[in-house]
Symmetry: C2
Subunit: 265 residues, 2 copies
């Protein structure tokens, strides 16, 4: 079985998976394990929390580029300041097919195409709609989310990665994580905008359990990723998490609960 | 049959339907006529082109508010400057159920709910995905589109509506239609951004004929609406239309062609 094991690369962390984009694939991975007998081995460096089931490939976030290059996984973006290729996670290697890919959307499409007899992540010809959903969610909550959450994530990544994480955020967002955080009245307004962004998503879903009614799909993993990242970044006892968990009749904490059977921490 | 006729309100025009949001419902209407035997009567004032099949209810865009109020159709938004309720088209009245609604998304949801035995506009539990798709398209192309197209639409609305159309655009966009148009180098850059916005949508759809593969759905009418508005606003012989029609291997003009069986001018 070992040679058929799909390798998923995740970020180093003090305490489990924290990146909203990787979490999407952790959902998929569990879905695959649960329903498809498709073994996926997690590779994650946990500097403080050693998990015997994870292979520690990435000791520091700064190792992502060399690790992915060595695995033959192509870059997915460019650094805005230097224009150099940017290597991002999640990334997978599937020894059964030789596929070596990064980007959660590309990986989801790949898994559906490579394993069409398994339950689809983008069922009923919804591939284009699911990709657009990801963009709609990102444009609705992303800008507000990033400014608040990046400084909290400095405490979540492992200490060996923190300096690189801070430096590369400046490259990506043009400001330090401290300067990104809204202050005073602006903080209240931006927090209300984040709530309104989630309100848009609630408006699309209405009373439905999942985005596609009773059917779990990639779109749910996109939202679930953001919610789990929030919970980890702010902590369960924080006012921020209590706010988010309570918004829109508590639907976001309920969604994460409904998605639990599909998630692998 | 007359008492079962759904009334669709559209804008006055020199030459047929021009509003991207109303066009979505004209697609739906045709789909309903074609497949559902659901009669929909079009109400449109055509100051220059009299069409015997249309009832001329709206002589001027400024009549929208009083016409919709009289029909019991609620406002859908607020004017940004005054905060007063804003009455928008498309709007419908369905005498079979008493429904009186505005907003293309609300109307599409209503038609699927009121006539669930007819072909659905949002099939296979995709309602939330379709609503998100609308937002994703709007955020990808809307800002670029509006700044270029509003000045062209001043020549498309009927002369009796032009002054009101110009004045209300200032209220909505904070600038005159002339000042909205990018000039010089900025015009080239913004046009490239519009192309890139359409490129995103092309990236979601890949090689598929429609957004959901071979199945026509509301998402196609959303794109179709923007494309038909472009063709009408710039004119078939314009460089702008030739650009748009040629982008991404001509897929947007092909899409409008593939949607023709569903469209009622």
């Amino acid at each position: 079985m070992a040679d058929k094991t799909i390798i998923l690369y995740d970020f180093p962390s003090k305490n489990g998976s924290w990146n909203a984009f990787v979490i999407r694939i952790r959902y998929e991975q569990k879905k695959c394990n649960k329903y498809c007998d498709l073994p996926i081995l997690l590779h994650q460096a946990c500097a403080e929390v050693q998990r015997p089931s994870f292979q520690n490939r990435l000791d520091r976030i700064s190792d992502v580029e060399s690790t992915l290059k060595a695995a033959g996984i192509p870059p997915t973006a460019q650094w805005p300041d230097s224009g150099k290729p940017s290597y991002t996670l999640p990334a997978i290697v599937d020894p059964s097919t030789g596929a070596a890919l990064a980007d959660s959307l590309v990986i989801a499409e790949y898994l559906d195409k490579a394993y069409p007899d398994k339950p689809l992540l983008m069922p009923s010809s919804t591939k284009a709609l699911q990709l657009a959903f990801e963009q709609a969610v990102l444009s609705s909550i992303g800008p507000m989310f990033f400014q608040f959450i990046l400084i909290k994530l400095c405490d979540v990544v492992n200490p060996a990665s923190e300096e690189y994480f801070r430096r590369s955020r400046v490259s990506l967002f043009g400001k330090s994580v401290e300067d990104l955080v809204p202050k005073g009245e602006s903080a209240k307004e931006e927090w209300k905008k984040l709530e309104a962004g989630f309100g848009k998503i609630a408006g699309w879903m209405k009373e439905d359990k999942f985005v596609m009614g009773d059917t779990v799909s990639f779109a749910d993993f996109v939202i679930g990723g953001w919610i789990i990242t929030s919970k980890i970044a702010w902590g369960e006892d924080s006012q921020e998490w209590k706010d988010i968990a309570g918004w829109h009749d508590g639907r976001w904490s309920k969604l994460v609960k409904n998605l639990e059977p599909y998630y692998s921490k």
